[in-house]
């Protein structure tokens, strides 16, 4: 490596993996964290970034993104998706298999890994499909895909409705130490639903998905996890009932982890009504009620939730500009995650900075058994520097993602990713000039 060493000086280093939260310097050299300590002298030729008042943390890790390549490059590519991730402070993301073709065999993984090597700005780890073509009928090449580099298996977006197949998949996956990631949804209970079932869906005349559509499947899969002993990870948990089931199962020894998204943590189904059918509030699982949202927030602190994951789901504007029931599910989330969480939870002291970093970095790594999530000396220098005070304005021009489907477009929130480093190289730097309305943030 001929990269210049970089010294991040005077920042508040928050590294939950080692219980560190104090003002320190971080020296990155030859792609790794060379030293973390007080008053490190800058080596010859080093770039120095003075990070006073900023938080310096291990790069964020997103267990759940959709990069749409191959097959839907009009929504997102690995290049634009990783640029978006870097802008959000992420240095590692796990991408779901629901591309076209589906990532369900070894050649598909090999292709993806090559595209990642050629075009990614940060680390992208593929997740393979549980079943061939996500059809829920026969197992995909789980073992061969593992050899090509997958880190988990999931039929995200299309739950495995056949319980027997799910059991076999979990048994099979256990031989390769692959966690099974579940999008918990009973397809019949959720059938035709466009939003959460409740007073709001009734008022808006939209077909609803009840909480039970999620928790019924959570209950089933926890039972199968108990039967097989395979680690299970629930994607985007959205209901209080699911959390209760997960807590209970964990207490009885089931190996289960789970994630929640920034949107489920901060928004409720009421937004669909207030926005008068804005399809940027349409996602699956749907935004739930305040009671569920509060339960999710509580579960961040009590440890039930292991990770905050974005479920970054890009869609082309033409696809979202349809009638609510016809528009696709999902929103982009990589670039909005930190400000959304900082704005909602730090001033209100709902979360500490260190717990926030843990949920965005250290703990997701632990859930999937990944390296990273730490500033330990010698590890890849994946580092984010962010502000808990500066504000970010989300404009169409400034978004790195190829898509624009976010309910926060046009909004200004507290919290800002200032720099992202991957393998000791700067992969993102905040640029005020790209965000015109942010010129006068103090007045907001």
């Amino acid at each position: 490596m001929t990269d210049k060493p970089i010294l991040i000086a005077g920042g508040r280093v928050v590294d939950p993996s080692r219980g560190v939260d104090q003002v320190l310097d971080v020296l990155m050299k030859d792609g790794v964290i060379a030293r973390v300590g007080e008053r490190i002298a800058a080596p010859k030729g080093a770039d120095v970034f003075y990070a006073e008042g900023l938080v310096v943390a291990p790069g964020f890790v997103d267990l759940h993104v959709h990069f749409r390549e191959p097959g839907f490059e009009h929504k997102e590519t690995i290049a634009t998706g990783t640029a978006s991730a870097a802008a959000g402070g992420y240095t590692t993301v796990c991408c779901m298999a629901n591309t076209d073709p589906v990532i369900d065999d070894a050649p598909a993984v090999a292709f993806l890994v090559r595209r990642i090597r050629e075009t990614a700005k940060i680390r992208v780890l593929p997740i393979g499909a549980v079943t061939k073509n996500l059809e829920g009928k026969e197992l995909s090449e789980i073992g061969l895909m593992k050899a090509e580099g997958i880190v988990a298996i999931s039929d995200d977006g299309k739950p495995v409705s056949n319980g027997q197949l799910m059991r076999r998949a979990m048994e099979y996956a256990s031989m390769f130490s692959l966690p099974v990631v579940v999008h918990a949804e009973d397809p019949h209970l959720a059938q035709g639903g466009a939003m959460n079932e409740g007073l709001v869906s009734t008022r808006l005349g939209l077909p609803g998905m009840p909480n039970a559509a999620e928790s019924a499947m959570v209950a089933r899969d926890l039972q199968i996890a108990a039967l097989t002993g395979t680690p299970l990870h629930f994607a985007h948990v959205s209901t209080k009932e699911s959390l209760a089931l997960i807590r209970q199962a964990r207490a009885s020894g089931v190996k289960v982890t789970c994630e929640a998204t920034p949107h489920h943590l901060t928004l409720t189904d009421d937004a669909v009504s207030r926005s008068r059918y804005d399809t940027n509030y349409k996602m699956n699982p749907p935004l739930r009620t305040e009671e569920d949202r509060q339960a999710l927030v509580d579960a961040l602190n009590d440890g039930t939730i292991d990770a905050i994951a974005t479920d970054h789901a890009p869609h082309h504007p033409d696809e979202k500009a349809l009638e609510f029931a016809d528009a696709p599910f999902g929103i982009i989330g990589l670039e909005t995650a930190l400000p959304v969480l900082v704005d909602a939870f730090l001033p209100a002291k709902v979360l500490s900075v260190s717990r926030l970093v843990e949920l965005l970095s250290t703990s997701p790594c632990r859930a999937f058994g990944l390296q990273g999530g730490t500033l330990a000396e010698g590890v890849s220098a994946d580092v984010v520097v962010f502000s808990t005070e500066n504000k970010t304005t989300f404009t169409a021009e400034a978004l790195e993602s190829r898509s624009r489907n976010t309910p926060w477009l046009g909004r200004t929130l507290r919290g800002r990713v200032e720099r992202t480093y991957f393998g000791g190289r700067e992969v993102y730097r905040y640029d005020e000039s790209r965000r015109r309305p942010a010129a006068a943030p103090a007045s907001r």
Binding site: L199, T202, R203, L204, L206, R276, D318, A321, L322, E323
Partner: protein
């Protein structure tokens, strides 16, 4: 014409999208204006020049006879130019999006677009994107605001008031935009509303709407001043709502016996089209208490009032 805008202090929005977002005063304004329109419809020459030179486009993406005719007649009586098309004859069948269809239409400068669509929220999407007035003529299972207004108009004419009346709304509430609009309007105006229907056809959370909810039709109809039956939407039921028509009629239909549980002077209503022998017995539908055809008559007056208030700018009169 005799219709002058009453209550000049009440400011209406650009569109009529749903009852949910209307105030009591706005509802009152529509109903009072419709009284003048009702008079016009009683004259020998039933046409006034109020909307001369205005263009109204009727976009019906879902089949309708009554509502479309009613809007077209209202437009003609106010001397507006009107065009109508249904989904089958439009660009939708060629794969064009709703927004594109509407934007193309907008380029031809209509003053108002009346839209019926099978998707809830479709009129709201147009209202956001287009500068002309949007009138919701029924969107999915969401709302049918002009129906609720014409129902309220009919009730007011027959009963002299809305506040304090006991209104039973019975049947397939789940799929009914008419029920949603009516519950919203009637509770705002101070009526005492009871919804009834099999549990499978009652939407979740509807009890938080301000209406009482029961399953037995008898419990809803008892002592009611108004009995409003809803159309069983077999096309949306999917076989999960009730076993068959016979059981529905036997357990939930409005029979003459059940009608007698209501007040002697109660009126019977139905938004149409009726499934005779499913939700309502013919002898009740055609009986002396039936206000069903009054509703149709009121429909023209209400739609005249809506168009007049939304696009009949007073400056040009």
């Amino acid at each position: 014409m005799s219709a002058s805008k009453p209550a000049a202090t009440t400011k209406l929005g650009k569109d009529l999208l749903d009852i949910d977002s209307l105030t009591k005063d706005e509802i009152q304004l529509y109903l009072d204006t419709a009284e003048s329109m009702w008079e016009i419809n009683k004259r020998s020459i039933k046409k006034v020049p109020t909307l001369r030179g205005k263009l109204v486009a009727n976009l019906f993406f879902e089949s309708s006879t009554r509502t479309r005719f009613s809007f077209e007649i209202a437009e003609r009586r106010l001397s507006a130019d009107s065009i109508s098309f249904t989904a089958a004859g439009s660009s939708v069948s060629k794969g064009e999006t709703l927004l594109d269809t509407a934007k193309n239409l907008m380029a031809m400068a209509p003053d108002a677009i009346v839209i019926r669509h099978q998707r809830s929220g479709a009129p709201h999407m147009l209202a956001r994107e287009l500068p002309c007035a949007i009138v919701n003529a029924g969107d999915g299972a969401h709302e049918h605001p002009t129906q609720a207004l014409l129902d309220a108009f009919t009730i007011r004419r027959r009963k002299g008031r809305l506040a304090g009346l006991r209104v039973a709304i019975c049947g397939d509430v789940l799929h009914s935009r008419v029920a949603r609009s009516n519950v919203s309007l009637l509770t705002k105006m101070g009526a005492d509303v009871t919804l009834s229907g099999p549990r499978t056809l009652m939407p979740v959370g509807v009890e938080q709407y301000g209406a009482r909810c029961v399953n037995r039709i008898e419990a809803a109809v008892e002592d009611a001043d108004v009995v409003m039956m809803l159309r069983v939407q077999k096309e949306r039921g999917g076989g999960l709502g009730y076993p068959n028509d016979r059981e529905f009629f036997e357990l939930f239909g409005l029979t003459p016996e059940r009608r007698r549980l209501a007040r002697r002077d109660a009126i019977v209503m139905h938004p149409g089209p009726m499934n005779r022998g499913v939700e309502i017995d013919s002898s009740v539908a055609d009986g002396p208490d039936s206000a069903i055809l009054d509703q149709v008559e009121a429909g023209v007056a209400i739609r005249m009032a809506v168009l007049y208030l939304l696009i009949g700018s007073s400056g040009e009169e």
